[in-house]
Symmetry: C2
Subunit: 365 residues, 2 copies
């Protein structure tokens, strides 16, 4: 599998005029090599493919294991730059050109590579590996599915506990502990828990504010499982009876999120999916309160291509996992976000596959 991915990349490189490629971005290294120990780089060489590591791979579950068809070499000198060492290897193999990830490599490392291998012509690999990563195979989707089961479990358990009086920070830490209890490598991103005026804010960092009766409580968390990251977001109301404005706002965001989910079909333009969700909120007068995007791809990173945003170019393919996560935040009052991870599937296969199955009814807790 990893060898096949590297073969596809090699074909793209050859088409771009580079015989070898040097992959430095950690998620790209992991995608092509099975593991990305800290500081490791992957050389798709003339003679053979080589994973160069700053320190020996730990072999721990969270890190992955290097593909057995790869040569793995550990740098002799601690603190050395594996990218520079890899360029040296490429030059020794007689390579004339190597494509590097200019969107990841720093100017200083680029210069260091040129200085050890001045005869090498350095090209740009651009986002070639990121593009390969967009469409997932069933094994990748299976890892996302298990991660989504873990977040559903962690969230379900939280909802059974007493919430009033606990701080956002405590709830976030408890959710992260539960993720790990249920087998996640770790959280996919810092857990966001917002109460009252903080509810509904995208990427909210938990504070010491305590949950109060009548609050909206919004939670966004994700699990990493075998390196793959998914996310879920839900908003609840605390107390027995939500206020009218809370029910209205919730119903509106729910309708927007459903519209976004229903727009997920192979061939749909990214911007059309975004528009489907966005126009529900727009036409209710919330144009100002809207985030720059209403969803994005997930995988080895939590924020991958595609972006579901007004100016995004391109169309969805089958087997692309994305989030759909519209929300409205009203300064001083709070707000609602609803966020699912789904996999785009053709109509014939039943349409989009919902990975995060926690209910989206408005629960009063």
């Amino acid at each position: 599998m990893y060898a096949a991915r590297r073969e596809r990349l090699r074909e793209r490189c050859a088409a771009g005029g580079s015989e070898t490629a040097l992959v430095t971005r950690p998620a790209n290294v992991r995608y092509l090599a099975g593991a990305a120990p800290a500081g490791a780089v992957l050389l798709l060489g003339v003679a053979e493919d080589l994973l160069l590591c700053g320190s020996p791979p730990s072999g721990e579950a969270g890190e992955g294991r290097p593909d057995e068809s790869l040569l793995v070499r550990v740098l002799p000198r601690a603190g050395g730059d594996a990218a520079v060492a890899a360029a040296d290897v490429a030059a020794a193999q007689g390579a004339e050109s190597v494509a590097v990830e200019e969107h990841h490599l720093t100017v200083a490392r680029h210069r260091a590579i040129l200085s050890v291998a001045p005869q090498l012509r350095l090209g740009d690999l651009g986002g070639a590996v990121e593009q390969l990563r967009v469409i997932k195979d069933e094994e990748e989707i299976s890892s996302l599915r298990i991660g989504a089961e873990i977040v559903d479990q962690a969230l379900g358990e939280l909802l059974e506990s007493i919430l009033v009086g606990r701080t956002e920070r405590h709830l976030a830490l408890e959710l992260e502990r539960r993720l790990v209890d249920h087998g996640a490598d770790g959280p996919a991103f810092p857990t966001a828990v917002g109460t009252g005026p903080n509810s509904g804010r995208r990427g909210h960092r938990p504070t010491d504010r305590r949950v109060e009766e009548g609050d909206f409580l919004s939670v966004c968390l994700g699990a990493t499982y075998r390196g793959y990251r998914c996310e879920i977001g839900r908003t609840f109301v605390i107390g027995t009876s939500p206020a009218d404005w809370q029910i209205e706002l919730y119903d509106l965001v729910f309708a927007a999120q459903r519209a976004g989910r229903e727009a997920l079909t192979p061939g749909a333009a990214f911007r059309d999916v975004d528009r489907a969700a966005r126009q529900v909120l727009d036409s209710a007068g919330y144009a100002e309160a809207l985030p720059p995007l209403t969803g994005h791809g997930v995988g080895l990173e939590i924020d991958e291509d595609p972006q579901l945003a007004p100016a995004a170019m391109g169309k969805l393919d089958a087997c692309v996992p994305v989030t759909v996560e519209p929300g409205v935040h009203l300064p001083g009052r709070g707000g609602v976000r609803i966020d699912d991870t789904l996999v785009v599937r053709p109509e014939a296969d039943g349409g989009p596959e919902l990975l995060t199955i926690t209910t989206k009814e408005l629960l009063a807790l």
Copy 2:
């Protein structure tokens, strides 16, 4: 204070032939601007200093607040590159040259800057801000001191609880929860808890192994407080009576760590501090088992200059906080690490100031 730091940087830039500087590395932005919202960059301009942010500063404690003497501007277009926008501003102000952080800026961003402002000459700021950051003022040291009190408290509470039968992961999560309980912004780095054969490994990722009678238990954790990161490492033995080899190994690492601490004086060469700790272990026959460094600077990042390592060049100054953290890990058996954060102080002021005061006696828990 922030204005004075920027003034010092401006002088260095001028000496290097650049009239303006563009700071992109987040810890450097925070050091000079008081805050570093995601994607923010700082332009030390011809006319005025400008913090350019991708999204509005949140004003939350963990993020810091932008210095009031700075202009703060939020990019109009979400997803835009603040560094490119800053170069545009510099060019509009009539700047001819701008020094950038080539060790942080990617090749692609460097190129994007050149394409919006082709008339600008781009120089290299190098590690100028990192160098300014090495010697801390008393306010910075005060933040580290409070962080160290927090890690001491979190660790002290853990030691009072039952440990046998609990997993490394659980202990690590509990420590992180306690850090936040006591007021930390968050952990300074992923907490390492190692038991039995995993004990004493630097940067060990906690596993599901449970604490057993007779184990070594080594713990390394840190707190972030007002952005500043400190660390502590301790090793304990589980059960009533340590084995002879455990006492011997502990005493040896303790002696090495003490030698390192005692070598911390203004004017001491980095490599001499390293050698002081290292030779104790070397002469006992553990040369192979030693890590590449025995300590490092801490501050806004957990791993800053200086490096206390055999090949490090330079000398300690007063008011530089460093760790001293020798350890020995014996494959299959486990090991010992002892790690303190201290501030270098002159003899006349009482010598090195120990921030992490948890006892280093061998406790049997």
